[in-house]
Symmetry: C2
Subunit: 593 residues, 2 copies
Amino acid sequence: MKETRERLEALRDEMRRVNVDAVIIPGTDPHQSEYVSDHWKFREWLTGFDGTNGTAVVTLEKACLWTDSRYFLQAEQQLQDSGFVMMRENMGNDPDLRQWLAQELAQVEDPIVALDGRMHSVMEVNRLEHWCGDNGFQLATDFRPSDKLWTDRPARPSAPAFVHDVKYAGEDVESKVARLLQLLDNVDADAMLITALDDLAWLYNLRGGDIAYTPVAIAFGYVSHKERNIFIDAGKVTDEVKQHLRQYDIHVRDYDEVEHFLSRRSEHETVLIDPDRVSDTLAAALMCQKVYARSPIADLKAIKNEVQIEGFRHAMERDGAALVRLFRWVEANADKGITEMDVARKGIEERSKSDMYTDESFAMIAGYGEHGAIVHYEPTDATAATLQPQGILLVDTGGQYLDGTTDITRTVTLGNPTEQQKHDFTLVLKGHLALQRARFPEGTCGVQLDVLARLPLWQEAKTYGHGTGHGVGHFLGCHEGPQSIRTDLNPVVLRPGMITSNEPGLYLAGQYGIRTENLVLTVRGPETDDFGNFLQFEPLTLFPYDVRLIDRSMLIQEEIDQINAYHQMVCTRLTPLLCDDEAQWLAQRCAPI
Amino acid sequence: MKETRERLEALRDEMRRVNVDAVIIPGTDPHQSEYVSDHWKFREWLTGFDGTNGTAVVTLEKACLWTDSRYFLQAEQQLQDSGFVMMRENMGNDPDLRQWLAQELAQVEDPIVALDGRMHSVMEVNRLEHWCGDNGFQLATDFRPSDKLWTDRPARPSAPAFVHDVKYAGEDVESKVARLLQLLDNVDADAMLITALDDLAWLYNLRGGDIAYTPVAIAFGYVSHKERNIFIDAGKVTDEVKQHLRQYDIHVRDYDEVEHFLSRRSEHETVLIDPDRVSDTLAAALMCQKVYARSPIADLKAIKNEVQIEGFRHAMERDGAALVRLFRWVEANADKGITEMDVARKGIEERSKSDMYTDESFAMIAGYGEHGAIVHYEPTDATAATLQPQGILLVDTGGQYLDGTTDITRTVTLGNPTEQQKHDFTLVLKGHLALQRARFPEGTCGVQLDVLARLPLWQEAKTYGHGTGHGVGHFLGCHEGPQSIRTDLNPVVLRPGMITSNEPGLYLAGQYGIRTENLVLTVRGPETDDFGNFLQFEPLTLFPYDVRLIDRSMLIQEEIDQINAYHQMVCTRLTPLLCDDEAQWLAQRCAPI
């Protein structure tokens, strides 16, 4: 890795030139996106490591990269001879970034820690500033080495934006903006700076193709009672988009103009800033009053309207039919040398048969045998295992359709399941079913329900290390907030219209992984005089659980009834989309247990 | 209520004299105690209302008292013609204290809101200060009308303190202080001001009789590496106590000296202050550095040691035996005209037969029929219902023993239970049992487990409005923190050695109330390589559930086994303490279902 070593030394030269002792380089973009376009992969360019989670720190003597357990193997390989040492996040032995940095800088006189404030949220910089203050360090937020060193930097993505038709979105821009302004009024804000790409896409009913898996266009927004703006590369603005924006009085400005635009806001304007989503640089550019609060758009877009919900239902039918074809094909070919990558490619092929499909909502996790135990495993041609007609295959996959986003995990046997496999599969399924049939009062948060998915495992001293549920966007990010079902104390309550995943799992290193995931819609349940109103979940995802992996003796009647009712619904809804052979296969899979 | 009207006018004269527009009068004492001695019942003296929760606010024109639903009836009666209007907390129609005050003072020029800072925590005053600032009000924290107006004020309680023998406490003062100082070091504090009476009682192994239900002495403490102090009325310090304090180098100072003492602390000393427990006046007296943090003593005393746990087990046996005699007596006399008050008196009589018993841990809630549906109902001779040989009786009661504190609720039928009663009782029991048999990983908080107790009710669109579990002190407060099992997002994790209640319920207004409560000990469960260490609960309380109220068809085998195993343990443990007739009665109640 001579190349990365040279880049590292060039960075150190630059650090010396401007008198900086340490620099922090995250893997994000100016929009705090989950998936980042190549234009902003400076950390990857510098280190050679291309995982989605990784933060590099460089001092004049040393260089480290922190990542999580998903990437330990990959980072170890990619960082070889790069000059960077891998540090394991949340592992007892390795210091965390701050501990390490504090130690490295302990002997330096008045050390300066630097970062590029465009890539860090207000909140992150705030925390770092406090930490630096406590340690007697100085924090510089205007160090932008990528601009100077990265000479072969890819251009900003230039995919055309397009209008997300109101027949899918269910609400026009006028109405969305009016509701947003109302929420701004409630917190005495006049305007909002919008940097999260999915927030902006939702608000303006716009989509794009700039980012993998999430159909958004790179842009900023600024909305007040007086004006509506979008900051976007002119090349993305097709005539259709231009007309759409004009219809709603949305002023098109150049993407690079945003910082300057913000710096000229009236000091009498009060602007809402989401401190977790807006970059420190943009927040600093605003010289007016600020209200720091979670994006009200996140709250608005989390509640799906009736049109969106109907869209989800249709997308689930198409997705379920594609999965029937996929899994039937896998079953028929498990003894013919197909690999995990073949499964992933076949999934795309089957989904593509729908003209509402645009892309996967994330790279398929097809984990056969021990690969299934690697929670965020993503096969590549280099690593893909060849399937055998035995053992367990975990498939976590989702599609982007114009009318909805899907995300499903099914774990299936390819033959001769063991008693242990059936036992573990049934434990996970019991948790999944318990959460899915839960009823709960209005005002309940996800953290209160999380245990329902975990308890069958906990009772046997087993558990899983990831969350149970995340929000899902509508033809937008497959992971969105603000609600979640996790052990974290997230105070956001579950509301009717929210769509959340339900995905308990169990992972036995070196053996197999099990996960069962549906998307569920929060709907109104019984309303009572004495005990208030209740909510419950409606499963949206349509695909049978693999009953061959169920140990029926572990189920109570309520669970058996629940499985049979779900399978009946799956069969009824998917059959019209299938040919006879496929329908027969599905009917067999959905037979009452 | 001519008397309270005169007192109210005297207060207003005083307000005019010192130029105050509104005064806030809480029902607490300088220690933020749950139960308050007569000496500090100024709000009761002023308003006539003697409920435990109530805050009065007086302006020059109006006077109101806020209380919660437990006390609506009582407050309505007691405030008649008092000049005070009752305001209902957390009820849609009534404004809250601040809303009301903001409205009342809207027309006043530069209004001054006053309070006695000795009776309000730092946190409360802080919040009020912010609120006053936002509204353009001034807050005066040194208004002490009780000192001047309350001429017939009862003296401070003068019960002698006594040593809580290390054979019960399980740890001597030297060790406790050393552990506290270690925790202070961890947050860079040199000293701690201790104002919570139970914190101080735990630390110094001292008890007293100044407060109803909680065996504590009125005192303050101040501990640092250099000195240990107690501020206490000399009359409480018996020779035994004097010797005990001398043994551990604890300096005895006068109770009233504390403020002056604090004002002379070195400015180089850093003092830990629990902002929820220390009064604003005392915190303000300290001119040195302060660290605001939850009392580390709360964390230390929540984890019971082996000696305390053994003590709890013994106390539970004695308590269970007393309850066998009580409930047997109730059953035999339900048709003989006994009242709820007779049940409460009989409970004390039976517990008093143990020489380890010192007091109830709270006033017995004996709620017959519809009284059971009033969550915090406490019978008085005036209100007590007469039992009949039918219907449901809810008894929530606890005792203070030298070796442990008990708190139990049982709901029993007095004859001919209806199907609905059995159905509801079984729902509550299913939740209680589910929580009690839960296993969970280290790091789990109560809010994550709360749903286990509620789910059977939720599934039928029913619920209860109170928490599921509170911590319990060791021969100390029946309610103590920091852990809880509630819907609130309390971040305190459950740890081995914590004792918490498990008390789901169901209340049907005008009909009956059901609650089933055990105290449970958090203990270590399985330890695994792959999934970490697990914890679980051990029920400490020993008394059978009323199986005559169980609808067996609603139970799964696991629940039946759990009930039978528990009843077998209860029978085995209590029988040695019972005479033959009592043992026979218990055996019948504990027969396998």
